[in-house]
Subunit: 147 residues, 2 copies
DNA sequence: TTTGTTGCAAAACGTTTGCAGCCTC
DNA sequence: GAGGCTGCAAACGTTTTGCAACAAA
């Protein structure tokens, strides 16, 4: 799927969500969504705020508020890696997230393993309605291995 | 394995770690280890601090310091569920942790699935030395399902 | 005796909240 | 025009840090 299409689809979903919940369609909210969908990696609220304020005036509080809305309509996903600030990423219809986190330098990378993904999706929970999966693998990256 | 044996083994491992790293064997450190190994569930630093101070005088800073040491010698494992305070648990030779987290009420429970565990352990990373695995499944628990 | 460790309090950090004014509906 | 949303700054809760006193080696 093209980058552009992804964003315009997200915009449409967001609009429908806002209307359904009687929330106002403010310029701030769409500006944040657009910036979020321009990222190709994880980002935190502070980074998003800094990246935006050159072109557009928003407050950090609004950034947090909007991210909360985007989480609710599943357009972004939130991750908490250790004690570092919460990381967000656009959702892209992928509800299985697999991450490698270096416990020495904090570097985060992603991987995909079909067998793991299938095993997770096959699991049924009797008293739990599962929506999203995150696998975090902690260890040492190549650079930090010998330290 | 008996509860008692688990703790005495942990104590032995901790002693060896402290000696190897030229750290002092203080009463505070052993008192914290003992309390940690008495838990059967997850706990946070604040809870541990409160549970201890009736019988033993320690500061919250020492609790954090000691937990950090216990993490380093792999006697405890740390989890970060959303924005809530970091949760710790004793390690018990289990490096694959599988959690269900309700995104509505925040309730955390554990499960084990052999197929998932095997798929995870079978995965080889060319540039990463994996040490610990945490799978978080987000969704709604039975009570919150209909809300 | 030396110096790592402690308790305490204050600081740091990410995130949330209160409020007056603004702007969508 | 009404009330949800914004920016700002202050508040919050968890975790870290600085420092003087203490105690393990």
């Amino acid at each position: 799927m093209k980058e552009e299409n992804t964003y315009s689809l997200a915009k449409q979903i967001f609009t429908e969500y806002l209307e359904a919940n009687r929330c106002r369609k403010t310029v701030e909210r769409y500006a944040i969504l657009e910036r979020v969908y321009a990222y190709r990696t994880h980002f935190d609220a502070e980074t998003l705020f800094n990246d935006m304020k050159d072109n557009f005036r928003v407050s950090l509080a609004t950034v947090y508020n909007t991210l909360e809305l985007l989480l609710k309509c599943k357009l972004v996903v939130k991750h908490q890696f250790g004690t570092q600030p919460a990381q967000y990423e656009k959702a892209c219809n992928n509800n299985v997230h697999q991450h490698l986190i270096c416990t020495n330098c904090g570097k985060i990378s992603e991987f995909t393993d079909k067998r793991i993904k299938e095993a997770i999706l096959a699991k049924k929970f009797p008293n739990f309605q599962a929506a999203q999966y995150s696998l975090y693998v902690y260890g040492r990256c190549k650079k930090c291995r010998r330290k």
